[in-house]
């Protein structure tokens, strides 16, 4: 049997740009060993891809974890499931988190499991008082099982439901207030939903408690025409669009610097292309970090100028 990984202390995810690590890039990360030559101090993974008995994929992520902070972004827990969470899956995730000691753990405000069937998508919820109570209980269950706080991500939607009575941002704010969970603000999802459902992202942001936001996501989206109307699809298959970058700048101005992740899942570019995207996000952050950390003497320089 493989020896248990040595116990590790959690390594916090820094306020910097990171990238989602996908399989085609794993070997490059592992091969770089302790001297990562790239300007990114953290990565994010989908933990379900590493819930394997053994082999190079699991060994690889344990190796990468020795050198940098890791965030785990779950895609299968299904916080919106009416039937509650799968205790087996909670335990599988807990065991992985105990080995990896991720700096952040996140899940989605969505559902993907019903009647013990896993529907591999992040499906939309009606935002009702009943849903709010169900998701609240599920988040409590997850945080208890993990022994860790989670962040909950806003979904990308092209649908909404007739009986949704609670605006999405208020729904998220309520969850944070009632469970102590944090929020993962996916800027691309916010932009995609605002266009598809016709709402103002600035109004949405007004309802989000800044202190609860622990991470931002950026990704590309696609445009498709359906029934004569244009629809945005959150496909994570291209560079981050300019409107999303602009919205990210607004978010950072409102809530302050946060770890920012580039997600790219389809039509993956070479690693250099992915790192260049992280560079764009880092420059947005750098501009705001200077403002936040600007000591008095630099302010004086400006005054002097």
């Amino acid at each position: 049997m493989a020896a248990a990984a040595p116990s590790t202390l959690p390594r916090p995810v820094p306020v910097a740009a990171g990238v989602g690590l996908r399989e085609p890039h794993r070997e490059a990360f592992v091969a770089a060993g302790g001297s990562i030559p790239w300007p990114i101090p953290w990565i994010e993974i989908h933990p379900e891809n590493y819930l394997v008995p053994g082999g190079p994929r699991l060994a690889g992520i344990l190796r990468v974890r020795r050198d940098m902070a890791v965030s785990c972004h779950g895609v299968g827990l299904s916080l919106g499931s009416a039937g509650g969470l799968d205790p087996d899956h909670l335990m599988r995730l807990r065991a992985l988190y105990d080995r990896l000691e991720p700096g952040l753990i996140s899940e989605h405000l969505s559902w993907s499991v019903t009647d013990a069937t896993y529907l591999n998508d992040l499906l939309p919820l009606p935002y009702t008082e009943d849903s709010l109570d169900r998701v609240r209980r599920n988040i409590d269950h997850a945080q208890d099982a993990f022994g860790r706080r989670i962040l909950v991500e806003n979904p990308a939607a092209c649908l909404a439901f007739a009986d949704s009575a609670i605006p999405e941002a208020e729904f998220l704010a309520e969850l944070a207030a009632r469970t102590g969970c944090g929020l993962l603000l996916d800027v691309n999802n916010l932009y995609v939903s605002s266009v598809n459902l016709g709402f103002d992202p600035s109004v949405w942001l007004d309802a989000i408690p800044a202190e609860a936001v622990g991470e931002l996501h950026l990704a590309g989206h696609a445009r498709m025409t359906l029934g004569g109307e244009e629809l945005l699809i959150d496909d994570h298959g291209s560079a981050v669009g300019e409107p999303v970058m602009a919205l990210c700048a607004e978010v950072l101005d409102r809530i302050g610097p946060r770890p920012v992740l580039i997600e790219w899942d389809n039509d993956l570019p070479p690693l250099d292309g992915l790192l260049a995207e992280a560079g764009r996000a880092q420059r947005l952050l750098d501009a705001r970090m200077r403002q936040v950390q600007t000591p008095a003497k630099i302010v004086e320089v400006h005054r002097a100028g």
Binding site: P53, L123, D130, C158, F161
Partner: protein, 273 residues
């Protein structure tokens, strides 16, 4: 819990739409949004499950595709996904039943006769990649066995070791894009060979073609027969035990062994994993 029951009914309706196109859930949509947008979710679910099955069955997809085009594999994968959707949220584990499902399709003539075995080969390689890690058998311990006791050895395979026996030339179809399907009794031994480094979990999956007789012998050994029991089986006539053992040892695909005899006073002859 009527509140959860209402949400559960909604989710059941949504699932029925995603997997089978049943439109009942459309009634829950906000009326100002086109119900056609539901199709985006159905296309995502079915398309990505077909892609997952294709990723886990690259040989079957390639060989079917080269003979019939891309459409038949995708259509089969979508049918399978609708009938047997994933039970676990780890998609690497999805597709274990695909080969048997193909073999049970009615009418059988709908797919080529070699398709289920090719799917078995693909799945065995896929499983081998994610199988548990194990220290390879220490050859010195094996060498210490007295020759007169060798026949009572039982082998403990590495967790990644798989055997696929077929009536078709599945090894050639996997290895050579120019090969064409032909009836040929053979077997393929699949295992994850450890890497050269000290990383226990490193390594790559390899396939080795065996004759039908060697395949029968390997099947017996992997099922836990002693060397004597396995070679006594009539189906193994003509099998080459020495070469098979050499193959397993050279590729470090054994994790241990046991000697089938009453325990000695020291009780230290085995090396069970």
């Amino acid at each position: 819990m009527p509140a959860d029951a209402k949400l559960a009914g909604f989710q059941r309706d949504f699932a029925a739409y995603l997997l089978h196109g049943d439109p009942a859930v459309a009634g829950a949509l906000r009326p100002d949004l086109p119900a056609g947008r539901l199709a985006v979710y159905r296309n995502t679910v079915m398309g990505s499950l077909a892609a997952v099955l294709g990723h886990a069955h690259p040989t079957l997809r390639r060989v079917l595709g080269s003979r019939l085009g891309e459409q038949p594999f995708t259509a089969l994968a979508c049918r399978f996904a609708a009938e047997a959707p994933p039970r676990l949220p780890m998609l690497w584990s999805y597709g274990a039943g695909f080969a048997d499902w193909l073999a049970d399709l009615e009418p059988a003539a709908e797919i080529p006769a070699w398709a289920p075995d090719l799917a078995r080969l693909d799945w065995a390689m896929h499983e081998a990649l994610f199988a548990a890690d194990a220290e390879p058998l220490d050859l010195a311990r094996l060498a210490a066995i007295p020759p007169d006791q060798a026949g009572s050895l039982r082998l403990a395979p590495h967790p990644s070791l798989r055997l696929v026996r077929s009536g078709w030339n599945i090894h050639a179809l996997w290895k050579d894009a120019a090969a064409t399907p032909a009836p040929l009794p053979e077997a393929v031994l699949i295992g994850r060979v450890p890497g050269d480094g000290d990383e226990c979990g490193a390594g790559e999956v390899r396939c080795t073609r065996l004759t039908a007789a060697d395949g029968a012998l390997a099947a017996g050994l992997l099922a836990g027969a002693t060397l004597n029991e396995a070679t006594a089986d009539g189906a193994t006539a003509g099998a080459d035990l020495q070469s098979l053992l050499a193959l397993l040892l050279q590729n470090r695909l054994l994790a241990g062994f046991a000697l089938d005899r009453p325990p000695s006073l020291t009780g230290r002859e085995g090396n069970d994993p």
